[in-house]
């Protein structure tokens, strides 16, 4: 037991962790050239272990601790060392402040990794949306459109589609059986696909489309196109309504009717609904005179929140986001000759941690190095005298 305590409070462990972090970051940065920023981040920094080979489903071995593991050990080491050696003296104040700040920062980073949600809102001029979309995840939306005023939506996340063969939810009068699921795919009409392609669906446009699985994309500006074949089986009677091909490359929802109600199914980017709506009034993209260098992007939107009796215009532009109800809207990009704006929507409950930590650590370092400097100046004076 003593040995374990000694290990976790030792300065050697700190140095080993810091060196490991450097090696990991260096390797991860170089890997970004081939993997893209997101994938390298997943493999190296947001993981407990770095595996080799990374792709293989079968045999693989861990070759290096991942970012989460190093961060966690460092955090334990920090807390343990200070708990053991804590002395309330002025001389140690700087060091203690610095490390307290670092603890807040590491913990905040971990918290952000676990709980922050990033999504996008793409708006053309005049568009109103009360949801943002997660570009990295898709969902299968089953929509009951019988009622003219209100759609009942049951959204099934991609992760469930991937894992479960049969989806049986209380809100639906039928079961959904996932026949095939492709993380990334290319859809082609039969006429183009050649002879040995076979349909995986028998209803809707999917009956004429060949699905070809392809490796996951690594480019920063591309995304996977997941596709699945789903069979609809009524709960109360036997038989099958048919098999549909769903993919967000298909676009429009496909409809069918069952039990006197009309239904639509569509695979689309996962949505986060909000209790308020945002309407794009105007998007501006300024350039410096006589150049293509962008000077500013700005979106003028109207924010309407009936719950809180809010109806106001907001200008979102570079370095000036809109913060509202725990979410922050940033001007992230634009599309199609400036017709559409893309807002990044971030929900991060621990966004204050780095601000607080920064101030504490900076103060700690100042105090600590200030002591050095004063001591050094005294020493210098006494030697020159």
């Amino acid at each position: 037991m003593r040995k374990i305590v000694d290990l976790f409070t030792s300065l050697k462990l700190t140095i080993v962790c810091l060196a490991a972090a450097m090696a990991l970051i260096f390797a991860g940065t170089l890997a970004q050239v081939h993997l893209g920023i997101h994938e390298a981040q997943q493999r190296y920094f947001q993981s407990w272990l770095v595996w080799w080979p990374a792709e293989s489903r079968g045999f693989r071995i861990p070759i290096f601790p991942g970012g989460h593991l190093i961060g966690a050990v460092l955090l334990v080491n920090l807390i343990a060392a200070h708990a053991k050696r804590f002395r309330w003296t002025w001389r140690k104040l700087g060091i203690q402040l610095t490390h307290a700040g670092l603890i807040i920062m590491l913990a905040g980073g971990l918290f952000t990794d676990l709980f922050a949600i990033e999504s996008h809102m793409r708006l053309e001029r005049g568009d109103t949306k009360n949801y943002s979309e997660d570009q990295r995840h898709t969902e299968l939306a089953v929509i009951d459109t019988t009622d003219n005023d209100l759609d009942q939506i049951t959204a099934i996340p991609e992760s469930v589609l991937k894992r479960n063969r049969t989806i049986d939810h209380w809100s639906l009068p039928f079961r959904i059986v996932v026949r095939n699921f492709y993380q990334n795919s290319r859809l082609r009409m039969f006429a183009e696909a050649g002879t040995n392609a076979r349909p995986i669906a028998n209803q809707g446009p999917g009956a004429m489309i060949a699905v070809e699985p392809i490796p996951r994309t690594t480019a920063a500006d591309e995304r996977d196109v997941p596709a699945a074949a789903i069979e609809i089986l009524p709960k109360d009677s036997g038989g099958s309504l048919g098999t549909w091909l769903v993919s967000d490359a298909l676009g429009a929802p496909q409809g069918f009717s069952y039990g006197g109600r009309t239904w639509k199914v569509v695979m689309r980017t996962a949505r986060y609904y909000k209790p308020y709506s945002v309407t794009l009034q105007k998007f501006t993209h300024e350039r410096y005179a006589g150049t293509d260098i962008p000077k500013n992007f700005a979106s003028k939107v109207t924010l309407i929140d009936p719950e809180r009796s809010v109806n106001r215009d907001v200008l979102i532009y570079m370095n000036h986001p809109l913060r509202y109800r725990g979410e922050t809207f940033y001007q992230a990009g634009f599309q199609q000759d400036d017709r559409a704006t893309i807002l990044q929507v971030v929900h991060n409950p621990s966004f204050l941690a780095p601000y607080v930590a920064c101030v504490i650590v900076a103060a700690g370092l100042l105090v600590q190095f200030g002591f050095h400097l004063v001591g050094f100046a005294r020493q210098k004076r006494s030697t020159t005298k």
């Binding site: 140095i15 920062m105 410096y288």
Partner: protein, 624 residues
């Protein structure tokens, strides 16, 4: 007598600089190009003098800021630009374009020879080919291009720039521009009336329209080609226009902008070698601009001065001298040499600071806005800290560091300036002075300190291994300095990195995105933390500290340049492939120094000479 030597050295060097700065006397019967080159124009989104346009354009196409002709004459940038603007057939013959790639030469059926520079007229038969090949290369990312593709793309860009320059103020084949404009001015009102009548479906005088149709076609071409927007707005809030644009607007207003007339007459006088008329119309244009755009004219006048003084190359020369004197002071006659070095370096710092603050004034920005200015700022920060160290210790070490780092960073800056205007406009997200002034300045100050610590360590190693001059006292004070500078670097790198995170949180919604530049910054912070903890834990002593500080140079150079070469991420604003061998060479040299430093102490000349001190017995710096 000895007391005066440092002052004499200082005055001699200051006098030499002042001599460089004396403006050349303008001959009476010659074009007053100096005055012409101060006129304000808008290029690349910024109002600047013709002088800057000339220098940058020549730098892009030719690689230098002056042009040597085959007959041995040397043209200044503005001499060249005046010919390009007003007398294109002559300028077409000048050997401007640098082509060294043998595959590019082979494209035109030329063999590689002694000649590196070619005139525009020589490329005239191949323009279509150059454009096609350049377009193909342009489709690739910079990282993927072969040497041939980079070279042909460079040539294409240079030729496009040159052709646009030629057609900025007038179409290149125009002879009597002023007369043409008078004719245009006379027929515009009639034509405007006729056009309005035609639009309403009334009878109109077709001849009146035909009068200007041909000219309008010419001006449309001129407006399309123009690189320089030379026509200032008539009110403070309006936009700048090219000459062609302005002439097209004249159809609506019925008037020709006065400055367009002036430029036409300036050009005609230039071609006719009529010095008096040229100078008279340059005066008129200057007066007009100072009345309409007083702020811009003041600024362009200052920029002209800044261009002429070349503060960075002047201070570069003095830094070298200061470095040599400081090194010499370790070999003998040390007090005098030491003080001379210190005074010279203060002079160099003053000129360096003048350059830095001038750039801030011209750009109305904090000091660091691109890779070029980061080099200037890193040098500046490191020189200041070094000189403070020198003031405290007076042993020539701070002075040697100041000289070496000042010189090297300015050399680096000089080589980063090849892509044109170093005072370029900032991309939208960077358009915020608060973050540029805090995050960027803190990060680059951190770089400065890291390089300074590395330089101190190099002095320790080189003096210790190769000379007998490293006494125990010197070694101790070097260790103290290095340690202090690493502390300084830790503070600034950490604060800078976190401020960067906060900026990212403010503008993109995430504090940390694992972007390569962010990773580079955090590597520095981690390395500083490792050095300090290893020091506090007693795992390293003097020599270990020095070795780790030298490795800090490797980490910092990777963070400063290396990550930009990866070509990924949001910070890849300064991609440069050419610098890669240099970066690699620097890193290898640092690793070599580390290897040398790891030799057993018996092989060190210094410690061997003083006593048989062993590594374990080397004095540790006073742990704080």
């Amino acid at each position: 007598m000895k007391r005066f030597v440092p002052w004499i050295v200082l005055f001699v060097i200051a006098g030499w600089i002042a001599g460089n700065w004396v403006p050349p006397k303008a001959a009476k019967d010659d074009f007053n190009l100096a005055k012409f080159s101060k006129l304000p124009v808008l290029v690349g989104g910024r109002v600047k003098p013709f002088d800057t346009v000339a220098r940058n354009s020549l730098l892009i196409t030719h690689g230098k800021q002056e042009l040597r002709l085959e007959d041995g004459r040397t043209l200044s940038a503005i001499d060249w630009l005046a010919d390009v603007l007003f007398n294109a057939p002559v300028a077409d013959q000048y050997p401007v374009f640098l082509v060294q790639n043998d595959e590019v030469l082979g494209l035109f059926g030329w063999e590689q020879s002694q000649r590196k520079y070619f005139g525009f007229s020589e490329f005239a038969p191949f323009l279509k080919q150059i454009e096609e090949q350049g377009d193909q290369a342009d489709k690739l990312e910079a990282v993927q291009r072969s040497a041939y593709q980079s070279a042909i793309l460079n040539l294409r860009n240079g030729i496009v720039l040159y052709q646009r320059l030629k057609n900025s103020v007038q179409l290149e084949d125009t002879q009597d521009f002023a007369a043409e404009l008078k004719n245009y001015a006379a027929s515009v009102p009639g034509a405007a009336r006729a056009a309005a009548q035609a639009q309403r479906g009334e009878n109109f005088d077709k001849q009146k329209l035909n009068d200007v149709a041909e000219l309008i076609q010419k001006y449309e071409k001129l407006s399309e080609m123009a690189y320089i927007l030379a026509v200032p707005p008539l009110d403070q809030s309006g936009d700048w226009h090219s000459v062609g644009d302005s002439l097209l607007h004249s159809v609506a207003t019925g008037e020709i902008h006065p400055i367009v007339f002036e430029y036409a007459q300036i050009g005609d006088a230039y071609r006719a070698k009529d010095y008096a008329a040229f100078n008279q119309h340059v005066d008129l244009a200057t007066n007009f601009s100072s009345k309409e755009q007083p702020k811009a004219v003041k600024r362009t006048g200052f920029e002209f001065l800044f261009n002429r003084l070349q503060p960075f190359s002047q201070s570069m020369a003095i830094y070298v001298l200061g470095f040599l004197l400081a090194c010499a002071s370790w070999l003998g006659w040390n007090r005098t040499l030491n003080r001379s070095a210190f005074y010279l370096l203060l002079l160099a710092l003053a000129i360096h600071s003048f350059g830095l603050f001038s750039r801030m004034y011209l750009q109305e920005r904090p000091p660091v806005t691109n890779l070029y200015s980061s080099a200037i700022f890193i040098g500046w920060g490191a020189v200041i800290v070094s000189l403070i160290l020198e003031r405290i210790y007076r042993d020539g070490i701070g002075a040697a560091c100041a000289g070496a780092i000042g010189f090297v960073t300015l050399i680096i800056a000089h080589h980063l300036a090849g892509s044109g205007d170093t005072l370029e406009m900032l991309q939208a997200v960077l358009d915020t002075n608060i973050w540029l002034a805090t995050h960027v300045v803190a990060i680059t100050t951190g770089y400065s300190a890291m390089f300074l610590a590395g330089m101190l360590a190099i002095i320790y190693i080189v003096r210790g291994v190769f000379t007998r001059s490293l006494k125990k006292q010197t070694a101790d004070s070097l260790a103290r300095m290095t340690y202090g500078v690493v502390c300084f670097a830790t503070l600034f790198s950490f604060v800078g990195t976190v401020l960067g995170g906060i900026w990212a949180d403010q503008s993109w919604g995430r504090f940390w995105g694992w972007d390569p530049k962010e990773n580079g910054a955090v590597l520095i912070v981690l390395w500083c933390a490792i050095i300090l903890h290893a020091r506090w834990g007693g795992f390293i002593r003097q020599r270990g500290l020095m070795i780790m500080a030298i490795f800090g140079n490797v980490v910092t150079s990777f963070s400063w340049f290396g990550v930009n070469m990866l070509g990924v991420g949001l910070h890849s604003y300064g991609f440069m492939q050419k610098a890669f061998p240099w970066l690699l060479g620097f890193m290898i040299s640092q690793l070599a120094l580390i290897t040398i430093a790891s030799m057993p102490l018996e092989n060190w000349r210094s410690f061997n000479a003083t006593s048989d001190t062993r590594d374990e017995e080397l004095p540790a710096t006073s742990a704080a």
